[in-house]
């Protein structure tokens, strides 16, 4: 139980650190972000209620006359009650609404493709590990090259070949323009989403399966030379059984831990890719916020991303403590 208590305490401290970073970054920067944001609103000819102005000043800090400590406490209180402020980009929509609209797109696209990349990489890693010392070792450098490719550049190449040169796939957006009233529940819409999501998903799978492949292969190679595998072989067990039940089952543990981490980064991971495909997810929203000096939106997104990463890590810790009891004892 001590293990779980320690983990919970750790995530609580981390969350607090992220909130505090979020509070201090705008206050430490030169210039006055709150003024920039308010000026931006005024320029668009929006009339700003005093409550909104106060909320912006509170989030971003500027000379409100209140001591820093009081500001900090009020700031924490607002965050925990779910008030992330209002967006300048789409005034007066609240930051929380904007985030909740774009989150499903990112989670769907990146989640599915992360899972795909993981499965492909693990299967490939087991295979290459089993065939170590043959020609398949030559595949390793190739996967290195794939891994070193900046993933958004890979996205650019895919767009160039599959959308510009041959218009097989759409270039931008998440679904067809014929759905003018937004997302709906119909087969046609689902098909459209899948069709539009193919290239972005391909980008993620291509750029990330190499890492899984290599990690799994290396663990397989190490595990296969362990004594208990030798014992299993000596007992005359079938090769497939030795490979899968004895070696792969143990070799996969670090990869599963890694998968937990990358699940956490599902929300954060493909910011640049979403920009390339103009995909309406969290990343696109973050970039819009940056371009519009929409600091409240930016901070809200950073917080949401951090919280999802922490939550995924935490769940993974629980799962990992369950499947590999050793972690609970020497933690």
């Amino acid at each position: 139980m001590k293990y779980y208590a320690r983990r919970i305490a750790f995530y609580a401290v981390t969350l607090w650190a992220a909130l505090t970073l979020n509070f201090f970054i705008p206050r430490l920067m030169p210039g006055d972000p709150a003024d920039i944001m308010l000026a931006k609103l005024a320029r668009v000819g929006r009339d700003i209620p005093p409550a909104v102005e106060q909320s912006i000043r509170l989030l971003l800090g500027s000379d409100t006359g209140e001591p820093l400590g009081t500001q900090y406490v009020t700031y924490l209180g607002r965050i925990f009650s779910g008030d992330l402020g209002v967006s300048v980009t789409q005034y007066p929509v609240s930051v929380a609404t904007l985030i909740s609209e774009s989150l499903p797109w990112t989670i769907g696209l990146v989640g599915i493709s992360t899972l795909l990349a993981f499965l492909v990489g693990i299967a490939g890693g087991i295979w290459i590990g089993a065939k170590r010392g043959t020609w398949v070792d030559g595949l390793i450098p190739a996967s290195t090259l794939l891994q070193s490719v900046p993933y958004f550049w890979l996205a650019l190449l895919l767009v160039y070949f599959f959308s510009v040169q041959n218009s097989w796939f759409p270039r931008i957006h998440a679904y067809g323009l014929e759905f003018t009233s937004g997302p709906e529940w119909s087969w046609a819409f689902v098909g459209s989403v899948l069709y539009y999501g193919t290239l972005p998903a391909l980008t993620i799978v291509l750029s990330s399966f190499g890492g899984w492949l290599l990690g799994m292969r290396n663990m397989m190679v190490s595990t296969l030379s362990d004594d208990y595998v030798t014992t299993a072989e000596a007992k005359g067990l079938r090769n497939s059984r030795v490979l899968l039940t004895y070696a792969a089952r143990n070799a996969i543990l670090p990869s599963i831990a890694g998968f937990g981490i990358s699940l956490g980064f599902v929300v954060a991971g493909s910011i640049v890719m979403e920009q390339v495909f103009s995909y309406p997810g969290i990343g696109k929203l973050l970039i819009q916020a940056v371009q519009n000096n929409d600091y409240a939106l930016m901070q809200g997104i950073f917080l949401i991303i951090t919280v999802t990463v922490l939550a995924a890590n935490f769940i993974m810790d629980l799962v990992y403590g369950f499947i590999d009891p050793r972690t609970r004892h020497n933690g």
Binding site: V149, V164, T306
Partner: protein, 370 residues
């Protein structure tokens, strides 16, 4: 990541790297004594002149095709960044015809504003490498400070430093960098490198901490402690040299991360202002509609160079990895030799196994000479 999981993985890899005299896959004799330990011991054994030269050679990873390809790629690109700018025109000279495909006048064509792509690429190599190296140095220095001190000193210092490291590890990097970068009014190359370095050190600090912890209990460190050496001297003289292979691998990794991070940031329009890097080239290509007008010569080369440099650095990293963890290198080689023996008609059957050093054993665990 969960600290304990990382540590266990590391413990495993350290075990695998435990002292062991062996013969490399390529038949090169590897030093009898584990090279890293021998290297530190030279201080004590300065009288034995011969050992010193040998051990320095042993600290370098053995030459393998991977290492050679990696070195050629990396040095080729570094050389291009160093001397390339002397042979090309001004990267901001806009008097050329715009959007020219590659030809004899402009080997890699021109951009929408008439800039020579090759010239931009050469200056961009300088910028990108500079960001990568500065970010890499900052990251490695920070990970050293946090990792080694935490691992060696232990106690409360360890608790606090590890907590900071683990927090930095889980807080997502790119969004944090984007947030910081968007608040800064004037982003210089140095500042971008600084932000990337400050956010990219936690992973290697975790690894270094476990290593320092394991080295701490080795005999020669204990001997130094008993002899009354000061802590900073033990860290610098006894521990640090043993971490050199690991550190160099982490530095290379940090450089790749820095270059990739800068490219991503620049693509979003948050890169260094006023400098040319491969990232800013990609950003300009996107803004200048290179994609839809089919100007592949504008956006393909910068990305390809990043990929090749990353590939070169990772190949060097692999060689270091295989050197630190001999199993990765020896196990496949052992399988290979077993298959060869079987093919040659020798009596190697499934009863024979291969131990971690790559020696074929029969069912009574006796060495088989193949």
């Amino acid at each position: 990541m969960d600290e304990s999981i990382r540590e266990r993985e590391l413990a495993e890899s350290i075990q695998a790297a435990a002292p062991r005299g062996d013969t490399g896959a390529d038949g090169l004799a590897v030093e009898e004594a584990p090279a890293t330990v021998a290297f530190a011991d030279t201080a004590a054994m300065a009288t034995r002149e011969g050992t010193r030269r040998k051990t320095i050679a042993a600290v370098l990873p053995p030459a393998s095709p991977k290492l050679i390809v990696g070195l050629v790629l990396t040095f080729g690109i570094v050389l291009f960044g160093l001397i390339g700018p002397f042979f090309v025109q001004d990267p901001k000279f806009s008097g050329n015809p715009a959007m020219m495909p590659p030809g004899p006048d402009h080997l890699l064509g021109t951009t929408q504003l008439g800039y020579d792509v090759l010239a931009q690429l050469a200056y961009g190599a300088r910028g990108s490498l500079m960001v990568g190296i500065i970010a890499g140095v900052i990251a490695v220095v920070l990970s050293l400070a946090f990792g080694i001190i935490a691992g060696y000193v232990g106690g409360w210092t360890d608790e606090v430093l590890s907590l900071v490291t683990n927090i930095m590890l889980v807080i997502p990097g790119l969004p944090l960098i984007i947030v910081i970068a968007s608040y800064v009014p004037s982003r210089t190359l140095l500042l971008v490198a600084l932000v990337l370095g400050l956010t990219g050190w936690a992973g290697s600090a975790v690894v270094l901490r476990s290593q320092a912890k394991s080295l701490r209990s080795r005999d020669y460190v204990a001997a130094a402690r008993v002899a009354g050496e000061k802590t900073w001297r033990i860290i610098l003289v006894e521990i640090l040299p043993n971490l050199l292979p690991l550190l160099s691998a982490q530095f290379l990794f940090a450089v790749i991360l820095g270059i990739l991070g800068e490219a991503g940031l620049s693509y979003l329009g948050l890169g260094p202002v006023g400098s040319i890097t491969w990232g800013t080239m990609l950003n300009e290509a996107q803004l200048g509609t290179a994609l839809s007008s089919g100007a592949w010569w504008w956006f393909v080369p910068p990305g390809a160079l990043i990929a090749l440099l990353g590939c070169g650095l990772s190949l060097i990293n692999f060689s270091i990895d295989e050197y630190i963890n001999p199993r990765l290198r020896l196990a496949p080689a052992a399988q290979r030799s077993m298959r060869k023996a079987r093919k040659a008609g020798r009596q190697v059957t499934s009863k024979h196994t291969v131990d971690a050093d790559g020696v074929i054993l029969d069912d009574e665990k006796k060495k088989v000479v193949v």
